[in-house]
Symmetry: C2
Subunit: 237 residues, 2 copies
DNA sequence: TTGTTATATTTGTAGGACAAAAGGGATTAA
DNA sequence: TTAATCCCTTTTGTCCTACAAATATAACAA
C-alpha cells in the first residue's frame, strides 16, 4: 500500500541498489563498475536518476569515475560526508553538546595511546607550545593557539582517524567556546578565580609524571566546562 | 594554471557554492532555499548539475525538498554519510585498525559518563545479559550476544551520538572479530588459557565496585586483542 | 613489432518535456 | 464578510535527446 507522500525517490532506491550491487558482487577497491547505460537498463530508470545516485557515491568517495575509462570502486575516506554536516550553524545545541561529550570521551580515552607513544621530543614540542601561549598571556590566547596543544596530543596518540575526527569537529568547538565567552565571562578567568582551572601545564606535568589516571582526570576537568555550559544554553543562536 | 585532468566537476563546484550560499546568508534549519531554476541562473549551469549537487546535500540530510513547496534547510543527522562508507569490504586493514582504536578510546573514555549515570536497574539488566550469555556458554556466544553487553554500556553513557557511532561501526568490528577467529583460534579461548581473559563479569564487577580506573583498565584489556591482531593481518581478504 | 590515425564509447553538461503535488487565487455559497 | 471549492501556476521528480571532451580500441602504416 503506497502512501501518497513520497518517502523515497527513485534516486534513493537506485543509490541503495548500487551499494547492494557492490556488496553482492563483492567488489573491492579497484574493481570496475558497470557504466551508466548498463545501470539504466538494469534498474529501468532514466540516466539522470543513475547519475544522481552515482554522484552521491562519488562525493562520499566510494566511487571514482574517469572520463571514458568508466567507474571504479574506491576505498572511501571515512569522513568525507561527516565533514559537510559539521556546520555549527546547522546543528542544534543538544547535538553540539553530544559532540562535545564525544570529544571528552575521545580525549580521555586516547590517554592510553598517548602515554604509550609519547617521546622526549614530543614533550619538548608540548613545552614549546605552552611557552608560546604563556608569552601571549592566558587571557589573550587565540582559540587556534589553545587548540595547538590538543592537536599535538592527538598526533602523539597516533591514530589518524581520531586526529581527523578532532580536526573536523574544531569549528563546532570553536562555536561552543565562542558563544560561551560572549554570553558569560571567559571560561579561563572564571575557573582561575575559583581555583579549578586546569591548564595545559598541568596536563603536561601529568604526562611527565607518567600518571595516566591523573591525566585523565585533569583532561576531563579541562574540557568539562564547555560541556556543562551547553546545559544552560538551550536556545539556538 | 589548469591541469588537463579534471579534478573538480561543475557539480562539485555547485555543491560547494550552495553550501557557501547557506553560510553566507546564515540560513538555519527551516529556512527556504532558492529553487532549482534560481540556482541554475545564479551559477549559469544546467539544471542537471544543480540537481546532482542538491541530491548530494539531500542525501546528507542538509536539505529537504517537498514537491512544489520548495527546498528547506534541515538539521542534518550527523552520521548519514558516515554510515555508507563503513563497509568492511571497502576498507583496508589499517583503516579498520584505526576504527578499532577509536572504539577502544571511546569505550575507555565514556567510563566517566557510565559511572555517573549507572543505576541499580542498569546493573540488573547487565547481569541479565551476562547470565543469558553464560547459559549459552562463553564459546558458543554469537557475536550479537557478545555485543549486547557493550551496547547497554553505551546506552548508560547517555550520549546518542556515541551510541549511534558505535552501532554503525559494528559491521566493521564483526568483520575484525570474525576474521581473527577464522584465521586463528577463538579469542576467548586463547586468552582464557593464558589467564588474560577479561570477561563481561569482570567489567560489571568493576562497575559494582565503583572502581572507574580498574574498569578502564579492564575494558582496554577486553578489547585490545582485536586491535593487536590487526597488526599481523596486513593483507586484504 | 611499433607507431599513428580513425572510430567508437563513456562521462560531463545542457536543455526540453511532462506528470504529480501543492500553493495561491478566483469563484461560489452561506 | 466569511468559508468552501475549484482552477491555474509553480516546482520537483523523472525521462529523453544532444553534444563536447577524453580515451580505449581497432585499423592501418612503417
Amino acid at each position: 500500500m503506497k502512501s501518497k507522500l513520497i518517502v523515497t525517490t527513485l534516486t534513493d532506491q537506485v543509490e541503495a541498489n548500487i551499494i547492494e550491487y557492490i556488496k553482492e558482487n563483492k567488489l573491492v577497491p579497484g574493481d570496475p563498475l558497470p557504466n551508466e547505460k548498463e545501470f539504466v537498463e538494469m534498474f529501468s530508470v532514466g540516466r539522470n536518476v543513475v547519475r544522481e545516485a552515482m554522484s552521491r557515491l562519488r562525493m562520499l568517495g566510494i566511487l571514482e569515475s574517469r572520463t571514458k575509462r568508466g567507474i571504479i570502486v574506491k576505498e572511501p575516506p571515512l569522513l568525507n560526508g561527516f565533514k559537510k554536516v559539521l556546520d555549527p550553524q546547522l546543528l542544534s545545541i543538544p547535538t553540539i553538546k553530544e559532540l562535545m561529550g564525544m570529544r571528552i570521551a575521545m580525549e580521555v580515552g586516547i590517554a592510553e595511546f598517548v602515554f604509550t607513544n609519547v617521546t622526549h621530543k614530543d614533550i619538548e614540542e608540548l613545552e614549546q607550545i605552552i611557552s608560546r601561549q604563556q608569552a601571549i598571556g592566558i587571557n589573550n590566547l587565540s582559540i587556534e593557539d589553545e587548540m595547538q596543544f590538543h592537536k599535538k596530543i592527538y598526533e602523539v596518540a597516533g591514530n589518524n582517524f581520531i586526529l581527523n575526527f578532532y580536526e573536523l569537529m574544531q569549528p563546532v568547538f570553536l562555536f561552543a567556546k565562542h558563544n560561551y565567552e560572549s554570553y558569560f565571562e571567559p571560561i579561563n578567568k572564571k575557573l582561575q578565580e575559583s581555583g579549578e582551572l586546569v591548564t595545559h601545564t598541568d596536563l603536561l606535568q601529568a604526562i611527565k609524571d607518567n600518571d595516566k589516571n591523573l591525566y585523565q582526570e585533569k583532561i576531563r576537568r579541562h574540557l568539562r566546562p564547555y560541556w556543562e555550559f551547553l546545559y544552560n544554553y538551550n536556545k539556538r543562536k
